[in-house]
């Protein structure tokens, strides 16, 4: 519902706020599906940090979306085609919450039974995150770091370079 509203609105401030509300609601849904760690992160990131970032971008750019001239019929067709394909794909999937679906039978059992002896940390999510999948998390941390470097280069480095080239020209 909230997402549909975000589609219609043209006032960007409201759109960004609705995006925050959407994140918060999805965090609630994640709690219902037992993913407390994920919900925690989603609430802090989606509803907090990303809203602030979008607002500060808006402060730097514009606050209102211009009306769209061209028709979206092609977009709607393409999107509904992709959606139908995905729906067709779900027909083979196991029921929601079923205990013997492929996702539940292989790796997760191994983690759930072995991690108390091998790691000894009550929170299995932390155990997998930092120990079993340590390489993966190292990579993710590096990605976050790289994105930070990219933002610094885009937003604060170029000004200095511009001044330098200006002084060269002058």
């Amino acid at each position: 519902m909230v997402a549909l509203l975000a589609l219609r609105m043209s006032h960007l401030f409201a759109v960004v706020m609705l995006a925050g509300v959407f994140s918060l609601l999805s965090a609630l849904l994640l709690v219902l599906m037992d993913a407390v760690d994920v919900a925690f992160t989603e609430a802090a990131v989606g509803a907090g940090v990303s809203t602030v970032l979008m607002l500060s971008t808006m402060a730097l750019t514009s606050r209102v979306q211009k009306p769209i001239k061209k028709s979206n019929l092609g977009a709607a067709l393409a999107v509904s085609f992709a959606g139908l394909l995905l729906l067709y794909g779900t027909l083979d999937m196991p029921n929601f919450g079923s205990n013997n679906s492929p996702a539940q039978t292989h790796l997760s059992n191994l983690y759930l039974t072995n991690s108390p002896n091998e790691i000894g940390v009550p929170n299995v999510v932390t155990a997998i995150l930092a120990s079993y999948r340590g390489f993966d998390t190292l990579g993710e941390t590096a990605v976050v770091f790289t994105a930070g470097v990219g933002v610094i280069l885009l937003l604060s480095g170029l000004r200095r370079r511009k001044q330098k080239s200006d002084s060269k020209v002058g």
Binding site: A35, V38, M58, A75, F96
Partner: protein, 137 residues
């Protein structure tokens, strides 16, 4: 088989998340405003996250955290912790890349004076025309 009550209730969550995904995709494709495109991308992303987590849910299960004293009751079902781990890192990487996209938008605004898709391509076309004219001259 498709019209059984059990089947529909078991798959309804997937269908809802796919609808959310498609809403996000539609925003990305059809709206010209770059900030709105990022919002659409975020909606798309969040619905993919929820889809993943819903695959890991076990009916009657609980959050995959053992008791503090590690006395594990084997009769308790735990949900699948693996999707949680994947999505946890994906969320933080997602905000970092979103920030990168927003930074690009700020630079685009400084270079072109607008953040509307079509106006940018108009300006680009004009510039190209000027360039070819100057080359001909």
């Amino acid at each position: 088989m498709i019209f059984e009550h059990n089947f529909i209730m078991g798959h309804l969550n997937y269908w809802l998340f796919i609808m959310l995904m498609m809403t996000g995709l539609f925003i990305v494709i059809s709206r010209g405003n770059l900030i709105k495109k990022i919002v659409g991308l975020n909606i798309f992303q969040t619905s993919v996250f929820m889809f993943y987590i819903s695959i890991g849910k076990v009916a009657g299960g609980t959050a995959p955290i053992f008791p503090m004293d590690m006395n594990i009751n084997p009769s308790i079902l735990y949900s699948n912790p693996l999707p949680h781990v994947l999505i946890l890192t994906a969320i933080v990487v997602g905000i970092a890349t979103t920030a990168l996209g927003l930074a690009l938008i700020v630079r685009i605004r400084e270079a072109y004076g607008t953040i509307e898709d079509e106006e940018i391509s108009l300006i680009e076309a004009d510039e190209q025309k000027l360039e070819t004219q100057s080359q001909l001259a």
